[in-house]
Structure formats: structure tokens, C-alpha cells
Symmetry: C2
Subunit: 114 residues, 2 copies
DNA sequence: GCAATAGTATGATGGATGTCCAACGGTAGG
DNA sequence: CCTACCGTTGGACATCCATCATACTATTGC
């Protein structure tokens, strides 16, 4: 039976602000960048070591799913999460690419280069 | 004399999360999308009619500037704002393009198409 | 100088948000 | 069945944030 947790919005109802608010968080952006490999990833605490509480991760996963970014697949005791890549690319062309392109480090602050 | 207000961060110190947090707001996203025409726009209340208070617009403009997205040029009594396009494109390739690509309307909600 | 205009500064406020903690609910294995 | 594991739920809490209203500064023009 489909639990309340597994529902996700239709991609057409997702606005750009919804997506941006979802990824405007260090942890959630990292999750999306990791999910960009196309593979499903578990929600297990071993995979995502951000130093936050277990329930905090649940909160972030729910935020991503409600924003239309991810899909959750329940397989017994373990849950896997994956990016809704095709739908997102069709709705917001180039956005996921831009978000998951690894940011240029540039080493240090501007003061260091002055 | 350079007022405190005119300072903006070095582009290298701007993180992706900074940018995303800045545009994760309906009004500020609209501002960025409008600024994407490359032209400088005034901060005057006539140009931006979002139905919010004058000081609220000041808050949004400051947020965008502090996030490294915009540059403010003071010309006497009027201030003009413009997108730091080249720097942003170099630091976050494709991001501004993706943000300013007009979102597909798709008319109505998912329920309407069912 | 004085009034009008453009924009900022400051303070208050209600709502959203990230975090933790404790308790709960399925699932797998003995 | 009972325990361990994976993940969620609900509450509590502190912080951030968007907004407004008022007061203030700076510039232009009479």
C-alpha cells in the first residue's frame, strides 16, 4: 500500500522557485549532485555522512521529494532515492546540468589571490 | 565616496548555495530574469511593481548584491542595477542561462490534464 | 534654503526552516 | 516471538527570512 510518504508532485506543478528553494541548502545540493550519476542511492546513514541527525536527513529527503526533485523506491527495509532526471530536464532545460557541474574550487578566498 | 552599500563580494568567494538561496524567492528570481537582458535597470518603484513596500525591494536588491549576483551603480539620485553576467557565467557555467530560460507554462495543473 | 524625490536604515513581527530528541512502525533473521 | 535495523513521526527550539512602517540621508530643482 502506498504510504503518504511515497507521493510526489506532478512535474508540471513544480515551479522553478520550488526547485531552487529545495537545492538552496548545502546538504540537499550535495545530495542532488550525488544523485546526478543516475544511480539510485540508499537513505542509509552510512552513505550520507553529513554529521546531522537521522531525522534531519529524513526531513531533507522529504523536502527534495515534495519539491519534485527525487523519487523514492521502497524495497523492504531499505529505501532508495533517485533523481527525476528526464522529467526535470524537460521542464527546466539545463538546470540540473548547471547545478551538478562541479563548482570551480579556486582555492582560498579572494584575499589570498590579492 | 564608496558607501557601505556598494560593496559586493569577489566572485570567487561566491558559492553555488549563495546564488541559489538568493534566487530561491519569486521576486528575486523575476528580477534576475529581467536583468538577463544585459541592460541596467533602475531600482525605481515604477519599474518593479511587485506590490511590496519600497524597503522590501531594498532588502531584495541588497540580498542579490551580497550574494554576488548584481552590481549597483549610483548615478546621482537614481541607482541602477545590473547582472554580473560574465563573472557568473565563468564561475557557474550554464546556471544563469538555466535560471533565465522562461519556464514552460504548461497551462493549468496536472489535474486539468488528467 | 526648501520641498520633493530616490533610496537606505532600523526595528518589529509573523511565518518558514534546520536541527535535535524521543518514540513509534515496519522488516529481516535468529 | 523477539531483537536489531532502517526510517518516519511528532514535538520542541532557535534561527533565519520576507514584510511592513517609520525615520533618516542624499540629490535635484525651484
Amino acid at each position: 500500500m502506498a504510504r503518504e510518504d511515497d507521493v510526489m508532485p506532478d512535474i508540471a506543478d513544480v515551479t522553478m522557485v520550488d526547485v531552487l528553494r529545495a537545492v538552496a541548502d548545502p546538504i540537499r545540493l550535495r545530495i542532488v549532485q550525488t544523485l546526478a550519476d543516475g544511480q539510485p542511492h540508499g537513505k542509509c546513514g552510512t552513505h550520507w555522512d553529513f554529521g546531522v541527525h537521522k531525522s534531519t536527513m529524513t526531513h531533507h529527503f522529504r523536502t527534495l521529494r515534495q519539491a519534485g526533485l527525487t523519487r523514492t523506491v521502497v524495497a523492504g527495509r531499505t529505501h532508495t532515492i533517485e533523481l527525476r532526471r528526464d522529467e526535470l530536464d524537460a521542464r527546466f532545460p539545463g538546470l540540473i546540468d548547471a547545478l551538478t557541474t562541479t563548482e570551480v574550487p579556486m582555492g582560498g578566498t579572494a584575499a589570498d589571490r590579492a
